[in-house]
Symmetry: C2
Subunit: 319 residues, 2 copies
């Protein structure tokens, strides 16, 4: 019987690896700089030697390993093991990465989009365990999502389902990187969040946030969250606005897709419980009573291990 799996979280800057037990325990982890091993062959070789070392370290024998799952920050064809588009690491577009990795690693390999892998991880080991219909979101520089429907990962017609960041909230809102206007990502992604904060700061004087900025601190989502926790009015207003935008989209999803759970992860979700509470209020005010009553809005439980655990869970899941 296979007792363990390898999970690889392929990041634009760093790549993390882990040996994970069937029950979701991370036995050992390592990482390397993606930029230093960025071509497909270099990556395959480096990850291969890391896998070797991890297995040696944990004492897990190769024939107990079900396979290697890898979450890729781009568009992949999971069925054929092909990377279609990888925006942040050159040289991968069109790469038959699955076959290449299998040759190097001598283990079955499953590729998946990284946010989809995270959604699977939350469903297999995290806060979404046991739910049939789950929308997993990551709020950070980008705003991404993965869908578990009927207990299985849902890919959609072009394998691109889950792009919650590109649902429109304000039809005449700011231009988004995708070319559309007023997308959720353009409003609550790091850039949009900070742009709105700058506008709010210009309108209001006083408060701890203004003070910190005068002392030379740099405006970041983290600083904005810290200021809100200290009751800074400008910061609170920006977070309330952010919760309103997210709540509008989540209410629409509650009505349209009727999930059991929406999981919120990523840097911006760390703004604290007051933030999640505000989003819940907006959902309650805007969604229909029946789906809203059932819907749970929960914070990701896997944190920065979501990538490795999600990738590992690819080896156990049928989809």
């Amino acid at each position: 019987m296979k007792t363990h799996a390898i999970g690889i979280d392929f990041g634009g800057t760093n790549t993390k690896l882990g040996v994970v037990s069937h029950s979701g325990r991370v036995m050992a982890e390592s990482s390397f700089s993606t930029t230093q091993f960025s071509t497909p062959p270099a990556f395959a070789q480096k990850a291969g030697s890391e896998i070797e070392a991890l297995l040696k370290r944990t004492g897990v024998s190769r024939n107990k390993v079900s396979g290697v799952g890898i979450g890729v920050p781009g568009l992949v064809d999971h069925a054929r093991g092909i990377v279609h588009v990888l925006v942040n690491v050159p040289g991968w577009n069109g790469a038959r990465a699955g076959a290449l990795f299998e040759r190097h690693w001598k283990l079955p390999v499953t590729l998946e989009n990284d946010v989809n892998a995270m959604a699977l991880g939350e469903h297999a080991y995290g806060i979404a365990k046991g739910y049939q219909n789950v929308v997993c979101t990551t709020l950070g520089t980008g705003v991404g999502g993965g869908l578990i429907l009927g207990g299985k990962l849902y890919h959609g017609a072009t394998l691109t389902a889950g792009e919650i960041g590109h649902i429109v909230v304000e039809p005449q809102g700011p231009l988004c990187n995708c070319g559309n206007r007023g997308c959720l990502e353009a409003l609550v992604g790091t850039q949009g969040l900070l742009d709105r904060a700058r506008v709010a700061l210009r309108k209001k004087s006083g408060g701890v946030l203004h003070g910190w900025l005068k002392q030379g601190e740099v405006l970041t989502p983290h600083l904005l969250a810290k200021a809100a926790l200290q009751g800074d009015r400008t910061a609170l207003q920006v977070w309330n606005e952010t919760a309103e935008y997210l709540g509008i989209v989540f209410a629409g999803i509650a009505n349209f897709l009727n999930p059991d759970v929406i999981v919120v992860g990523g840097g911006i979700s760390a703004a604290g419980d007051f933030f999640l509470g505000r989003i819940r209020k907006v959902i309650k005010a805007r969604a229909m009573a029946v789906p809203a009553k059932k819907l749970k809005l929960l914070r990701s439980r896997l944190g920065n291990r979501a990538g490795v655990l999600g990738a590992a869970s690819l080896n156990w899941k049928n989809f």
Copy 2:
């Protein structure tokens, strides 16, 4: 082998019945006034005698009939055959209709929400045949939807999935019947459409539409469509605005749910090809290239038989 099925389209005003072959041919149809037989027992008895008559008329013997499917204009528990909420016909909330009907009709009975049944009908016999992921919409007084995902009807956590009419388009827009603001239904449902038309008419004088209204014609979606086809500027503007609202929502769905097809049905969809063409343009401008290129926006093919055919298809589908 079962060769036929009965489909019942339970409407607020009229109920339609049909004997349908496995391939989707309607062998015979009838209808009765729902208002005259509105209680569950009266409905069961009346529909029972109509089924009897239809079978006699078509010569289809009862043991060739796989069952009776019924599309109900409300919230139903398809698995337990219970009507939860039926807004337009009193006396049905909580009714164990499935068991009641089976007692009366001596055939297996499947209940389903009417829009879900229509989506199944388009998937089994209509324009969405052969596609895995389909969003079916009905544009009329209300704006409803049904989802086929992975080739199966998708119900969601509270069996209420598909409420596309209650996705927000304009966060500060008009109040919707659901209590929310700026929902798609509040903007493009019959009431919202006509409200916007009246505002536009007040702003612009001249044109055929103004003329017809002065002659005593009543403003309806049909009249608005007729005026647009004759090049009336006010009417065209209202339809363009309507296409913009629908396109914004469909673009978000393309990005988030990534369906193969969106089917547009219901009275308002009859506005003509120019209208669907406008919606396609908005989707192309606002959705991401990969999902938008694959997405087909198609008009319902089953027309006013969609209800009966959808209900009949409940007898063949696994979900």
